[in-house]
Amino acid sequence: MPELEINNRVVSFKKGQTILEVAEKNGINIPTLCYLAGAAPTGRCRICLVQVEGSDRLLTACDTPAGEGMKILTDSPTVRNARKTNIEMLIASGAHNCLIMDQSSKNWTENQSKIMGQPWHNIMCPSYGDCRLQDLAIEYGVRADDLELNYEGHPLDDATPMIVRDFSRCIGCGRCIQACNEIQVNRAIPEPYGPRKDHSQGWYPLVDYDYCTHCGQCVQVCPTGALFEKKAFGKAAANEIKKVRTTCPYCGVGCQLWLHVKDNKIIRVSGVENAEPNHGRLCVKGRFGYDFIHSGERLTSPLIREKDGFREASWDEALDLVANRFKDIIKKHGPDAVAGVSCARSINEDSYQMQKLFRSVFGTNNIDHCART
């Protein structure tokens, strides 16, 4: 196997692996920002820069193939400086007022009031405390004081029911584009790049709603507070959230979910990365359809119809009633007078049980599934 050196350590690699993959395999951390697992690396953010001996430029670890005999430094002063410059420019170009704590300059204050005056900016950023850009800024010692801000206007798209797209915090990493086009393959966010002279309006990842399914994958991958769930806005700070893992109740796929919970209430939902079967992906129902859980109209006990209305009953009473009625019908009309239909929200095992019950206990082959038609 070919070998190379990372931070003076000799490691071996397979041809075709990127520098990032080799580093990860060997437990060496290289910070990334735009890199999105499962999609082809684009090298856009220039945070995963590393120094390779013999090269007068810094190379992006995410998309540079590892080469025999390379001597790589992942954390040298040159590398750290370059990363820091990029982080600084990213922060200075948008409405990232989370570093307000260490502000003092007049410039920043002016900017701060400008930012606070915008819609969705009256409170702290929705991803405060859970933001990749903020993490990097802190790790690399970026100080608001040192920045010359050049934040101007940005588009805002808050007209759809679930998602707010506040491009004043967009850092142009393109992860949402990849999530939509390569991971979900909805292709609703066209790549916006091209010479600035033809893009006077900027390069924002604007959505083509003819294609958008409102699945919210873009929100999940956005590393900043540019894309966020409308319903969750202002409901909880990152440190108040408890994450609970569960299985989506909607369909038989069984996607793995994180419920972001505060005070026993779901604030928002995200997909569990690196887990079968969905690898972080979710559809619009799994991600946004959780309001019913806290709905006052939810049934909490069995109801039995009497005359024009319903009355509450115990499970025993309800089940006895159903079993007796089945028995009566079968006695009178034979087993083929009943049929079993299982629900698309039930898991395979439950559907199996249903057909077992109908075939071997009731004695009929009348079984079906609502998703079959």
């Binding site: 041809k15 075709g16 082809a40 684009t42 090298g43 856009r44 953010c45 220039r46 945070i47 820069l49 390779v52 013999g54 090269s55 007068d56 430029r57 810094l58 190379l59 992006t60 540079t64 193939p65 590892a66 080469g67 025999e68 390379m70 370059a82 410059t85 990029n86 420019m89 990213l90 200075a92 170009s93 010359e148 050049n150 850092i171 142009g172 393109g174 292709r187 066209p190 790549e191 916006p192 790049y193 091209g194 010479p195 600035r196 002279k197 893009h199 900027g202 390069w203």
Partner: protein
């Protein structure tokens, strides 16, 4: 032209020489005052204010930044902000350092060559003029505003005679903007389906990706777009911009003529093409066989042309059926001559002028076959030549049913000018190659070809083209018996048929025109393509037609042709070259280029079905992702 007083360009001396020949050759009234680009800075004119020039340069870089990567997208705006305050008298002492740091940062960390190439010229100018910059910042000296022109190029763009924005359309394929990509192609190439199939692709030999692993399949990507257009997947009709009154006549519906008419029509001029033959396309239709270029492709391209309002009159031989004077008297205010190089070169071998049956030139053979006729009968056929026309002849002969097809060439395969892919495919089709053989006499019985007497050759000293000259081996004569002989060793021009005046022609019967404006000594007559250059390439002819259209328009609007500074910068870049074959990359290349699939030899020799197929959308996307986007900016003061 004198030497620049500041010259930091890596290959500065060579540029000065090139500039000298480019400028003295064609644009004597214009001169370069300065040059700023990836290699450094050159300044000839002491009146240029370096502060203003740097500002102008950085504004241009910023306007080319594509928005993909952080350092260039944000760094270039920042640089412009800093320059703006410097020239506005609000510069800070720390600004020079800031600029230096920023450009170094952008070049060290940028994703593509727009960002990567800015540090050298900027650092050079700051070094050379540090005091001037400090003066402007500290004393708030007023900056002298100048005017500048620039061009955007790349190794591939520069190698293409029509300077197609290759990274531009490739990038738009990658992003899925096929219509935008096609618009970019059509800006410089009105026959994208033709060029996407049979261009000699000089761009691919100059593709930087080739230094890393394999060049981009530039031609196949263009074909992908063209096929999308032809099949109606994308729509790219752009109506003419404006309406003009002056009528223009175009002679010849070959690529040069088609291109000139297309770009004139897009500018709104009414154009009429006079074409001697019964159909359009010139050598593309009557030379290039349909297994390489199906006829419906040209038909589609001409259809687009006619939709723009261009009228084509077929069967009109200018010089015979109508004279240039008559054309002028019918109200055509300008004429473009694009009559090609239709006659065949002589082999200088005995018997070739005797008029034997079954002895016919390559161009004649191919045009007959293109018209669906079999121009000669027999079993064994011999073609003489080593270029693409010879390849077309042997492969066509195979498809017409000749059982024993032979190619004679004076040198060895290494010296053959034909495309290696053509040679490979011809071999696969069972063509027999005879190298180091030259014909001396055509043998005939009853005035019909019976065989060819040949001499064996060996390679001697290199000639002016750098290829080793073949010299005959004494006493090596031998005879190849055969039924048909086809010389395909080149074509010559006969512009005198159209324009009998000798002063506008060379002794080779080519038309003399200005290299930049394509205007002849008769100011209303322009010309381009093979009839000016001798037999060349499709893309060369298209480029000539495109550029001539621009200058014809200028002539009709302003009464004269004046090239712009950007034309000069472009010719300078073309002459100097942008591709650096010595460049090495700090990482290994691991990708393979996507090649279109080809029909199996056993199947393809049975007819004229197209050999090469089109890339699928997903493979086109994968291929487009390999492009390194090697854009370069070159700016000069006016």
């Amino acid at each position: 032209m004198e030497l620049p007083f500041l010259n930091t360009w890596e290959k500065g001396d060579s540029i000065v020489n090139t500039a000298n020949s480019v400028i003295s050759g064609q644009l004597s009234k214009k001169s370069l005052k300065s040059l700023m680009g990836w290699g450094g800075v050159m300044i000839w004119d002491r009146n240029i204010d370096p502060v203003d020039m740097l500002y102008a340069y950085l504004m241009r870089v910023a306007s080319e930044s594509c928005g993909e990567c952080t350092p260039c997208r944000l760094g270039t705006v920042r640089l412009c902000m800093v320059m703006e305050r410097i020239v506005g008298g609000k510069g800070r002492k720390s600004d020079l350092k800031l600029i230096k740091n920023l450009v170094s940062h952008i070049s060290a960390t940028g994703k593509c060559d727009i960002g990567r190439t800015i540090s050298k010229p900027v650092l050079d100018i700051l070094d050379a003029y540090e005091e001037t910059f400090i003066e402007v910042i500290e004393k708030k000296r007023q900056v002298k505003k100048g005017e500048y022109a620039h061009v955007i190029t790349a190794p591939c763009i520069n190698a293409c005679p029509s300077h197609l924005d290759i990274p531009g359309y490739i990038e738009n394929i990658r992003m899925g903007n096929w219509e935008k990509a096609m618009e970019i192609v059509r800006k410089d190439c009105p026959m994208p389906g033709t060029i996407g199939r049979v261009c000699v692709r000089p761009c691919e030999s100059a593709c930087r990706r080739g230094l890393l692993d394999e060049p981009i399949s530039i031609r196949a990507l263009k074909r992908f777009l063209a096929d999308c257009e032809m099949n109606g997947v994308i729509k790219t009709e752009s109506p003419p911009q404006g309406v003009q009154k002056q009528k223009v006549a175009v002679i010849g519906a070959g690529p040069a003529g088609i291109s000139c008419a297309y770009y004139l029509a897009r500018r709104g001029y009414p154009c009429t093409i006079f074409e001697a033959q019964e159909g359009p396309g010139g050598m593309a239709a009557y030379g290039i066989p349909s297994y390489r270029l199906p006829r419906n492709v040209i038909a589609h391209e001409v259809n687009v042309l006619e939709k723009l309002g261009v009228e084509i009159r077929y069967g009109v031989n200018v010089g015979k059926d109508i004279t240039m004077e008559e054309i002028a008297s019918r109200g055509y205010e300008s004429v473009f001559v694009g009559v090609g190089a239709p006659d065949s070169s002589k082999m200088r071998c005995e018997g070739e002028d005797a008029g034997y049956r079954c002895f016919l030139t390559g161009v004649h053979f191919l045009s007959e076959s293109a018209r669906g006729r079999k121009p000669a009968e027999g079993k064994k056929l011999v073609v003489i030549g080593g270029g693409n026309v010879a390849m077309d002849c042997v492969r066509t002969a195979r498809r017409l049913g000749f059982e024993d097809v032979n190619l004679l060439y004076r040198r060895t395969e290494a010296e053959m000018p034909a495309d290696p892919q053509e040679i490979r495919e011809a071999k696969e089709e069972g063509i027999k190659f005879h190298h180091l053989v030259a014909p001396v006499e055509i043998l005939a019985e009853n005035d019909t070809v019976a065989g060819i007497k040949c001499l064996r050759m060996e390679l001697g000293e290199p000639d002016s083209s750098g290829r080793r000259r073949p010299v005959p081996v004494e006493g090596s004569e031998f005879v190849i018996e055969c039924d048909v002989i086809i010389p395909a060793i080149g074509q010559v021009c006969v512009v005198d048929c159209v324009l009998p005046e000798e002063d506008v022609l060379t002794s080779w019967k080519t038309l003399i025109v200005d290299q930049t404006t394509f205007q002849s000594d008769r100011q209303q007559i322009f010309g381009g393509g093979d009839c000016v250059t001798g037999p060349q390439t499709l893309i060369g002819a298209l480029a000539a037609g495109k550029n001539a259209a621009r200058f014809i328009s200028q002539y009709l609007q302003q009464g004269g042709c004046k090239p712009e500074l950007s034309d000069l910068i472009l010719s300078l870049a073309s002459a100097e070259g942008v591709y650096d074959p010595g460049e090495s990359f700090p990482y290994p290349g691991i990708t393979e280029r996507e090649e279109p699939s080809v029909l199996e030899p056993e199947i393809r020799v049975n007819g004229f079905d197209e050999v090469e197929s089109c890339l699928t959308p997903s493979r086109a996307r994968v291929e487009s992702d390999r492009c390194l986007r090697c854009y370069r900016l070159l700016m000069s003061a006016i």
